[in-house]
């Protein structure tokens, strides 16, 4: 009887251990690190680890691991953190019990095999968490938990450090533009080079008037929230003024309802400004469709049926650019295009009489209006170009010198700083890890060179 009781007691004692041991059969991942994701609102933690040694394809093509389960626990307070760190299990076991129950605890996320990172996007800012990762296998098998050495607190950054250089450059250019706007407003002289495409606007509208044919204005296929459409509408205001002066019929088919209403307001204002409210007909500014090629077909139809003498394409265009320009070319219309879509510029250049390339398109409104305030902004853009050119020359010079003088460490660091901080997203302060890597690479090259030289000899 006593023997039976002892056996029963032993069995009872062993039961949880047996269940636990049955589940935990895999080799776990190592070096788990949890980091607060920088430059966010404090709601993300990135967990990284080294893959389990069993995370590989076996001879038969099968795998021992299904993936990894990521667990986290809240470390309540700084006091709690300290007491947790002082447990006999050591800091690595912080907040996770030795007999951790994998089934009862819901992981915050899982990733498949061969993946060694997980982005937890559902954390509360300011709360401290400790993370642990377990490898998972078929049949509900697990590895022991690998707990991150350090807890992590997701914190909100007030400003995106990685974009500071961009902010600085943008602010400098903005201040310069505003300065020249005020400079021009107070009578400062602004000289603008002639832009052939814009000089031809009145010529094109005049030609249409003489021929008794309409002027067609296409403001691109994107909505009014795109800056190119806004720029196109400002050019439309000037084209409409010229059309009102010459009494030419202006037709504006649009691909977006909001662009239609904006264009109507703009053209109406232009006709009013020229003292020709009677000549304004809102039916000439109409909506076709949002669909790219449906819109293209509609505009093509207008071109073929009404044969406009002048066609303007001012805004954002995609594949329809060449279809429109070639159709208008086939009816002998004079064509002026302006866009900031680099991929469509060659098509417009090939098919149109005049093309406003990139910045010329954005300068068109200022150029056509001849408003000193707007012309001042062009001068500001020129200063921006000087800054860009200076950075280009400096970067090229540093990169060339760094290649020619492999031992000149300051040159390499300056090159690295321009590439990763000024043009990249490393922020104002250089990344010590990247500098350390650079130093190691330079040292390795220096060490290798004598050995190679000896080999040559």
């Amino acid at each position: 009887m006593t023997r039976a009781l002892v056996v029963l007691l032993m069995l009872l004692c062993c039961t949880p251990v047996v269940v636990h041991a049955k589940a935990v059969t895999l080799a776990g991942p190592s070096d788990v690190v949890a980091e607060d994701v920088p430059d966010d609102v404090g709601q993300q933690v990135l967990v990284k680890w080294n893959l389990s040694p069993e995370d590989r394809v076996q001879a038969g093509g099968s795998r021992t691991l299904n993936g990894y389960a990521i667990y986290r626990k809240v470390v309540q307070t700084s006091m709690g953190l300290e007491s947790g760190a002082e447990t006999p299990a050591g800091p690595g076991e912080l907040a996770f019990a030795d007999d951790f129950d994998y089934e009862a605890n819901q992981p915050v996320g899982t990733v498949p095999y061969s993946v060694s990172r997980f982005l937890d996007e559902n954390v509360d800012g300011g709360v401290t968490y400790v993370y642990a990762v377990a490898a998972t296998g078929p049949g509900g098998t697990y590895s022991p938990l690998s707990v991150a050495d350090m807890p992590v607190t997701a914190r909100m950054q007030y400003i995106n450090q990685g974009k500071l250089w961009f902010l600085i450059i943008m602010l400098i250019i903005s201040v310069v533009i505003v300065f020249f706007v005020f400079y021009a407003k107070h009578g400062g002289a602004i000289k603008v080079r002639p832009i052939a495409g814009l000089e031809a606007v009145s010529e094109a509208v005049g030609r249409a008037t003489e021929m008794g044919k309409p002027v067609l204005f296409v403001p691109g296929i994107l909505d009014i929230n795109d800056i190119q459409t806004v720029a196109g509408i400002t050019v439309l205001a000037n084209v409409a003024r010229t059309a009102a002066q010459y009494d030419a019929k202006l037709k504006v088919p649009t691909a977006r309802s909001l662009v239609m209403t904006t264009a109507r307001e703009t053209v109406q204002a232009a006709y009013l400004g020229e003292g020709r409210p009677d000549a304004y007909n809102e039916d000439n500014i109409y909506y076709l469709t949002d669909e790219q090629f449906g819109y293209t077909a509609g505009v093509q139809g207008v071109m073929v049926r009404e044969k406009p003498a002048a066609c303007f394409y001012m805004g954002a265009f995609y594949a329809e650019s060449l279809i429109l320009a070639e159709t208008a070319n086939s009816i002998g219309a004079i064509q002026i295009a302006g866009t900031a879509m680099p991929s469509q510029l060659p098509f417009f250049v090939a098919a149109c009489d005049y093309t406003l390339i990139g910045e010329e398109f954005f300068a068109a409104s200022a150029y056509l209006s001849n408003d000193p305030e707007q012309l001042g902004s062009l001068k500001g853009q020129d200063v921006g170009k000087i800054i860009a050119a200076f950075l280009l020359v400096l970067g090229c010079l540093l990169a060339t010198l760094a290649a020619v003088l492999p031992d000149a460490k300051p040159l390499h660091i300056a090159d690295l700083y321009i590439t990763n901080n000024v043009l990249g997203e490393d922020g104002l302060v250089p990344d010590p890890e990247k500098i350390s890597m650079l130093e190691q690479l330079m040292e390795r090259d220096q060490d290798a060179q004598p050995a190679i030289d000896e080999g040559d000899n």
Binding site: I173, S174, G384, I452
Partner: protein, 297 residues
């Protein structure tokens, strides 16, 4: 004046500056997302305006028997058929998630339903036809653009000819007699070819001599013979004659044109565009350019 110009200007400026702030201040990211949602709602509401305008104009066109009025009829017919089939989900089948409610079924993805039929057999072929026409327009535009009227046009034609040739097999075949890594490797005894191939590939990839590796062994730990052979390969592949003749191969010439002059020109345009965007945005946000707001009367 206040309602038509000042208030819209203030709203535009506020939303504009807010969207700029979202790029730099993480806390405001959600505000920016909300502003964009507001725009989407506004644009969706404006669709009614657009649709109304489409119906009115086409009805007027049919009524006045304007040139091409029949197209107006087709447009309206297509518009109403698609609208009715879409809104009333005609023929939509119940789904696994909502077996008793075909109204909850997705339309386009259900093969065989009328809306899917319109999308697959009307809309898609028409779109594809329009896109396919582009090929002919490219040919006609290229024919005009590539006429060698002057020196610039001749240079453009010549460059385009190289780039076109360099992207097809004929171009590769035409200059296959010029030296390349494989012909250089073939000039070595068979025992050394794998080594030369590996080292040569690394050098052509732009790796520094000091970082060359062969079967996991870095250059400094290689045998003296291997180091000497690697140095010989490096000298040959970096030599001016090989660089010049190999660079003349049409595929390499094409890549060089795309990587150097094309990219440089493209980046110059991009810088100009970026500055233009900053300038135009500032003019709109500060109310210097108000032409998009109309007259205010």
């Amino acid at each position: 004046m206040l309602a038509k110009r000042t208030i819209p200007l203030i709203i535009a400026a506020m939303i504009g500056f807010l969207l700029i702030a979202t790029y730099f201040i993480p806390y405001t990211e959600q505000w920016g997302a909300t502003a964009m949602e507001m725009f989407i709602i506004l644009a969706a509401a404006a669709m009614v305006l657009g649709a109304g305008n489409l119906i009115m104009l086409n009805l007027a066109k049919i009524s006045n028997k304007q040139p091409g009025w029949a197209y107006g009829g087709i447009t309206l017919l297509a518009f109403f058929i698609t609208l009715v089939v879409g809104i009333f989900k005609i023929g939509a089948l119940p789904t696994v998630t909502s077996p008793d409610n075909s109204w909850a079924a997705p339309l386009v993805s259900q093969e065989g339903v009328p809306f899917w039929w319109i999308y697959s057999f009307v809309y898609k072929p028409l779109t594809a036809t329009m896109f396919a026409m582009l090929a002919f327009y490219i040919a006609s535009a290229a024919f005009r653009a590539f006429r060698a009227k002057n020196l610039e046009a001749f240079l453009l034609l010549f460059t385009a000819f190289i780039v076109l040739l360099g992207q097809i097999y004929a171009g590769e075949w035409l200059t296959s007699f010029l030296p390349d890594l494989s012909s250089y490797v073939a000039s070595f005894p068979e025992a050394s070819q794998a080594f030369v191939q590996s080292i040569g590939t690394q050098i052509e990839y732009g790796n520094a001599f000091t970082s060359l590796v062969w079967e996991g062994v870095s250059i400094r730990d290689m045998t003296m013979e291997q180091q000497a052979l690697a140095a010989q390969v490096s000298d040959h592949l970096n030599g001016w004659w090989y660089q010049f003749t190999n660079g003349l191969k049409l595929e390499n010439l094409t890549q060089m044109i795309l990587d150097v002059p094309q990219k440089a020109g493209n980046r110059a345009i991009m810088i100009g565009i970026a500055l233009g965007i900053v300038s135009t945005s500032l003019k709109v946000l500060l109310g210097i350019d108000r032409s998009y707001l109309g007259s205010g009367d």
